[in-house]
């Protein structure tokens, strides 16, 4: 089989792994305290002691990017994984049991697609957010709500095409229960598109966090987040572009890596019956 994932796939995976490890072990890695303001370094560009430079009040941008990765990665992974499980189940159920179940589920999911994400988010923050420190749960909750419908639709489409195949009928002829059919016959055929699409959703959530931060509604300071850093650096764009640029570049590369990994996986798992 001449199929390979390719060098750039592994490069992207390596980058994501390094980022994740750095975020997790940020406390114990020899990097600077993200809250420390270094005297006389305000708006200084990248240097040997401060790799990504310093921000408006002299904090080290590099260590803030690392700590910001905690928020971005947690929000996007937890959000995606929850949405993947819920959306995946809903999609499979909806695609497998046609008829009334499918109609109601599809209608509900389509209705949820109509809600503008930012409005939903603002509403949730207004109604639920008694304390700022709970913001991260609201973020995750909103992101899950937003990602369920797209994932469920993709999974439903994949399930529909596979539920009509004879091997599903064959499993039922053998006396398999619906659960067994879904998990043994349908899931293996749906999983590749599910996983690769989830990675793309994950990348999307990182960007959405940035957008939310622009409204000042992301995880509140002093916790650094990428979106918040880009937003704060905006006022200094003319004199110290790196304050916004560095987190933006890291966010860009991360999103690119996630999308790339998702795309490559999708191609890799392309059903091979097409060859016949």
């Amino acid at each position: 089989m001449g199929r390979r994932l390719g060098f750039f796939f592994w490069l992207a995976v390596a980058y994501l792994a390094v980022l994740a490890v750095a975020a997790v072990f940020a406390d114990v890695l020899p990097i600077k305290d993200p809250a420390d303001t270094f005297a006389g370094t305000s708006k200084q560009g990248p240097s040997l002691s401060h790799w990504f430079g310093n921000d408006g009040v002299g904090r080290d941008v590099f260590s803030r990017v690392i700590y910001g990765a905690q928020v971005s990665l947690v929000i996007s992974t937890v959000g995606t994984v929850l949405a993947l499980v819920i959306g995946g189940l809903l999609g499979m159920v909806s695609g497998y049991y046609s008829g009334r179940v499918d109609r109601w589920l599809t209608a509900t999911l389509n209705a949820s697609l109509v809600i503008p994400p930012l409005i939903l988010f603002l509403a949730l923050v207004l109604f639920l957010d008694s304390e700022a420190k709970r913001r991260i749960f609201i973020l995750v909750f909103t992101f899950v709500l937003l990602s369920i419908a797209p994932i469920a639709r993709v999974v439903r489409a994949a399930t529909l095409s596979c539920a009509n195949q004879d091997y599903v009928l064959a499993a039922r002829t053998l006396g398999a229960r619906d659960g067994r059919v879904l998990f043994r016959e349908v899931l293996p055929n749906v999983a590749p598109s599910l996983v690769s699409y989830s990675l793309i959703i994950m990348a999307g959530l990182i960007v959405v966090e940035g957008a939310v931060a622009f409204l000042g509604l992301s995880v509140p300071p002093p916790t650094p987040t990428w979106g918040d850093m880009i937003n704060k650096g905006r006022t200094n764009l003319d004199v110290a572009a790196h304050i916004s640029l560095m987190p933006a570049i890291v966010m860009f590369v991360t999103v690119l890596a996630l999308n790339f990994v998702g795309d490559r996986l999708q191609q890799y798992f392309e059903p091979r019956e097409a060859v016949l």
Partner: protein, 570 residues
């Protein structure tokens, strides 16, 4: 022509389908009358050929016999057992006796599974169904039918509630933890999620964890309702000292972490406050111990649930530590989790392999029956085979559960002619070897003539004619049979083109003609055919026809040009 009636049915048949009716709803509140009162029967060891044009309801009849879907009305009996009245569970236990071979061999084999698993699947399914029934029977003895019915009815709602509750519960616990810690000089709440990423076990377990949690919570509910003895069944076969050591070590470790979590929650008050966590933890600790002692019984979801629950506990634990100690605990936890996960996975895999090994001799035997070399084929996937080989695999899968009746739904239609002969010979050999009873659905009359002991001709959801193939092919009794025979292409370059054409289109099954369904295309149609539906009757020994004016016997009308021209060498 194309009528109803049961005159052709025999007594003591192995399979008897009587007055099958299948209707599908169509757009606009209309109905598709796919099968309207078809009756068939098969003696043991007999092959029944079922022929007709595309869309006449052959396949639907075949599937109705298998109850997929169940017929709208009518009865199906196998060895005297009525299938249409069986409840789904009882039907599942009958299914191994009724098998099916499909038209498209490639799409009837799951492209993502290996041959060894595909062929062994009937065995696994049968085992699962029997185990389940036995378990259900034990329950019934213990807690009576009432609770069981209740549980069966509640199974799905309970899982939904379980899902909602576990998600809400997880979020609530997390927010509780955050609130608790916010006042203390710890490193901030990003730690909790950061630690979540930190555990490699979680990366694998988290995806399964949500599902696992649902099942876990269902388990908690069950555990509350059932006597502890049922839980202790999970401990079955803990004989090896390793198992006991595993139980001791994990219980100890979980206990320690539980205690740390508890103290970091602030003692009894908070502990009672988060009583749900306590209950969940207690059950999960028992479960983890059981999973490690005997992964096969605990199941994959159990292993995943307990592992992820352990990780969550660790997260709470780690989050309460100082930065210095945290590194050590983090590293140790990662190592321990990885080892634990590897060990459990290995045990789980070992169990799966054991199941495979138990099935292997049978799988090999069946593969050899169908002429596939097991050594080459076992670990390959279906798309690596040619159409003919894949059809052999499909036959092997049907054979593995030793069926009484196999319904072949156009098994050779998508194969090329040389392979068709191989598959037909194979079916013939297997039939002689295993005493199979076959329903052979096809539209190729030459094929049907060769394999069948009896042939039934269908038209638009009704039977036209049932008889021995030789008599039918020499002298068709039904005008439709005659047309079908006339439509066989003649391998004669001198033959007149278009001589054997069937005129007219098949009428819509949504609006079938009155009386005889074939009358719109029948050259002999009379007023009586529109008014009165013909009944199946015996016009010669062993020849049953549903027609007012059959082509043999004293009432036979004069033969019509078109039909006789193309017939002859059939």
């Amino acid at each position: 022509m194309a009528g109803s009636g049961n005159a052709h049915l025999r007594s003591d048949a192995l399979l008897r389908a009587q007055d099958l009716v299948v209707e599908f709803p169509a757009a606009g509140g209309r109905k598709v009358y796919a099968v309207s009162g078809v009756s068939l029967d098969l003696m043991e060891g007999e092959t029944l050929g079922l022929v007709g044009e595309s869309g006449c309801g052959k396949s639907t009849t075949g599937r109705a016999i298998l109850q997929l879907p169940s017929p709208t009305s009518g009865s199906v009996q196998v060895a005297g057992q009525e299938l249409t009245e069986l409840d789904p569970d009882a039907m599942r236990e009958v299914r191994p006796r009724l098998q099916m071979i499909y038209q498209d061999p490639i799409s009837s084999l799951n492209p993502r599974r290996r041959v060894r698993d595909i062929i062994a699947e009937p065995l696994f399914i049968a085992l699962e169904n029997v185990t389940r029934r036995t378990a259900m029977a034990t329950w019934q003895e213990r807690i009576g039918g009432l609770l069981q019915t209740l549980l069966e009815r509640l199974a799905i709602p309970m899982r939904i509630v379980g899902l909602a509750a576990s998600v809400a519960f997880a979020l609530w616990i997390l927010s509780e933890a955050v609130e608790e810690r916010a006042a203390e000089p710890w490193l901030g709440w990003t730690e909790v999620p950061a630690a979540i990423i930190g555990f490699p076990a979680l990366a694998i377990a988290l995806a399964v964890a949500a599902v696992g949690l649902v099942l876990g919570l269902t388990w908690v509910l069950l555990a509350l309702m059932l006597p502890f003895s049922l839980m202790s069944r999970q401990f079955g076969e803990v004989s090896a000292p390793v198992g006991i050591a595993g139980v001791v070590v994990t219980t100890g470790a979980s206990g320690f972490m539980l205690w740390r979590t508890w103290s970091s929650f602030g003692g009894w008050a908070k502990w009672v406050n988060s009583g749900g966590l306590g209950l969940l933890t207690a059950v999960l600790v028992v479960w983890l111990a059981a999973s490690i002692a005997n992964p096969e019984r605990a199941g994959a979801s159990g292993v995943a649930t307990t592992l992820s629950a352990m990780v969550v506990l660790q997260v709470f634990y780690v989050a309460g530590l100082d930065a210095g100690v945290k590194l050590i605990v983090l590293v140790v936890s990662i190592v321990v989790d990885t080892l634990l996960l590897r060990w459990v996975l290995r045990r789980y895999r070992a169990n799966r392999n054991a199941a495979r090994e138990r099935a292997e001799p049978r799988v090999r035997e069946v593969l050899e029956y169908v002429g596939i070399n097991p050594d080459d084929a076992m670990d390959r996937r279906p798309w690596e085979f040619s159409g003919g080989q894949a059809q052999r695999l499909s036959i092997a899968r049907a054979l593995v559960s030793v069926p009484q009746v196999i319904i072949c739904d156009e098994p050779v239609s998508s194969l090329d002619v040389s392979v068709q002969a191989q598959i037909l010979n194979l079916l013939e050999d297997l039939k002689n070897l295993m005493g199979l009873t076959l329903v052979f659905i096809a539209h190729d009359l030459a094929v049907v003539k060769n394999v069948s002991d009896r042939v039934a001709v269908m038209y638009l959801g009704k039977l036209c004619e049932v008889s021995e193939p030789d008599a039918m092919f020499d002298e068709p009794a039904h005008p439709y049979t005659e047309m079908l025979l006339a439509a066989i292409p003649q391998p004669d370059p001198e033959a007149e083109l278009g001589s054997g054409r069937i005129d007219g289109e098949l009428p819509s099954p949504m609006d079938p003609p009155s009386g005889c369904r074939f009358r719109t295309r029948c050259p002999h149609a009379a007023q009586r055919c529109a008014d009165e539906e013909p009944e199946m009757r015996e016009i010669a020994p062993g020849r049953f026809v549903a027609c007012h004016t059959p082509l043999i016997g004293e009432t036979a009308p004069e033969r019509v040009e078109i039909a006789s021209a193309g017939r002859g060498a059939s």
